[in-house]
Symmetry: C2
Subunit: 346 residues, 2 copies
């Protein structure tokens, strides 16, 4: 069994546009190789064939030639959990079934899952609100792969995918946004409900259910039929910019009306993060949220967004265990997490 080596997540070291509210943007494309059944209906032999085709092609394309290929059935469940926390694979892939692989670019901003629901799930990610830049790159990746692989495509429907919701462009674009003032002012439900009305989806950071933890929400647009990729991402970007404006206005209002309460919350969070010897993921998210609000509002500027993003990702269970170099029961993780946070903040 190969062990995934732990290293810093390089894109976390950068910040993108609108970093004060948008943590990251992501686009994924669903693609299937013509003439082979969708992964869930494919035989072992066919799954293996898909893998081989992809493995043949990746080294031939400029954008994908440096990608590291990881067979998910050949790594530990801890390593799969690690890749999941890193946003490189989906929860389904983390189950580690046979004939699944993921290819990852050196900077971890590009990943291609093979034999998820679709044969290929190409995913590109950047910090901040940078959907256009992502689109340019992922479109280039798609073009280069298309030179070597014939994707299932219907002139009438567009790209054919395992789930009808992806048929057409096969695109899904999403942004992770931080809305502390809207949450504090109890306006977040109203704002996010309005988003559902225009066809976008809202989820909490962990991607399951829709509960908002640490004031983080994921907005996504999965309209794939009768709308171009450009339109899809422009719609998401437009709504995101509107929400950023709402959030910043709510922040200004809070600072006008309850500045001291906000400062109290922010500095207490900072003090607790620097002091705690035992801390849960949930509490970490809430306190880092206050810290981020501190920076956005100008109350506490000493912690860079990059450090906060790093804390959010690196204090999740599999990351901690990879860093520790061994499996840790939950209570020990809480101790190790507190240690990591103190090290980053002091």
């Amino acid at each position: 069994m190969n062990a995934i080596r732990f290293d810093d997540c390089r894109w976390l070291k950068h910040r993108g546009q609108s970093a004060e509210i948008v943590l990251s943007s992501r686009i994924r494309l669903a693609r299937n190789i013509k003439g082979l059944p969708f992964s869930h209906w494919a035989s072992s032999g066919q799954l293996e064939q898909i893998i081989e085709r992809v493995q043949e092609v990746l080294p031939k394309c400029k954008e994908t030639k440096d990608m590291e290929i990881i067979r998910l059935d050949r790594i530990s469940s801890l390593d799969r959990e690690f890749l999941l926390e890193r946003h490189l694979i989906s929860r389904e892939m983390a189950r580690g079934q046979d004939f699944r692989l993921v290819a990852v670019s050196p900077d971890e901003t590009l990943s291609i899952m093979v034999n998820e629901e679709d044969h290929l799930r190409i995913q590109c990610l950047r910090p901040g609100l940078e959907l256009r830049q992502i689109w340019e790159r992922i479109n280039e990746v798609d073009d280069q792969l298309s030179d070597h692989l014939e994707f299932a495509f219907s002139p009438k429907w567009g790209y054919l995918t395992a789930c009808p919701s992806n048929v057409g462009t096969g695109i899904r674009c999403s942004v992770m946004i931080h809305l502390p003032a809207l949450v504090l002012a109890k306006q977040v439900d109203r704002v996010l409900n309005a988003i559902s009305q225009v066809g976008l989806t809202v989820r909490g950071i962990l991607g399951e259910g829709s509960e908002i933890s640490g004031s983080l929400a994921q907005l996504s647009n999965q309209m794939t039929l009768g709308i171009s990729e450009q339109e899809s991402l422009e719609r998401l970007e437009k709504v995101t910019r509107q929400i950023i404006a709402n959030e910043l206005e709510a922040q200004r209002q809070l600072m006008r009306e309850a500045r001291l309460l906000v400062e109290d919350k922010i500095y207490r969070a900072y003090g607790t993060l620097k002091g705690a010897r035992i801390i849960s993921t949930q509490e970490t998210m809430e306190l880092v949220s206050a810290l981020r609000f501190g920076r956005t509002s100008g109350v506490l500027s000493e912690i860079p967004y990059e450090t906060m993003n790093e804390i959010l990702i690196c204090t999740r269970p599999a990351h901690l265990q990879k860093m520790a170099g061994s499996e840790l029961p939950p209570k020990e993780r809480d101790v190790y997490r507190a240690q990591f946070i103190r090290q980053r903040l002091n």
Copy 2:
């Protein structure tokens, strides 16, 4: 109206014996001048006469000649509250009725209330567990005053006092102790109940009711009849030493069995105190208690006991308002309190 000037409480700058558990010790003697009715039954003229007698005598005695005399009906209620928080007068005296005064020594360790329940309530205080030293001094004060004032005394009963519970020696000795480990281990009720069994009284720091705030309790011995002053304070000292031993043993046990939990509590408290922008008296007491435990247990040694004692006293409402130089509504006090604490800890 005279304004009480605000200055630092000098004895807070020193620490006494067993300072890790005992904040302060105090003894008071109840005395009445022969031939005059107890204060509550005395006419205005008689109260004035008592005051005059005391004011005549204080300058004549070595121990009392430098005392500052404050007529409580001539200062503001804020100033009376300030003297109460400083442990210089009783709650009854803080009402500011006519013909009440208090004499205070420059270092504030000696005070004499005139026309409280008894004509004179002589009180001496020191940081730490120093009942014997206090007794020596207060006994000397009593002797010197007796050279000029004839106290009501019966050969059979001893000193006569307004309340029968003080008849005899008129002594009450008390210590303020900090029992964080016994509180955390939920053993404090058992230990303090045992104290009541041997005739001692237990109260919370604020002296009303018996609730323990910030793990601080006041133990006192008010046996005044059929027992000498020496016996009375020796009994309190013996029990206090026993409780110190119990507390230190409970601390050692906690550090053996739950060191990380204790460290977490202590460093979070420290972080919160250094960060908070708004903080109540109650929360301050709880967090300073954790800080004190930090020092006693060796976990966090950077804050001296003197600073913690100062925070406990100086963040009470009247102290804050005296420092601010104006009356402050409770919400503003919470802000000012947080500011004072940050200044002391940073």
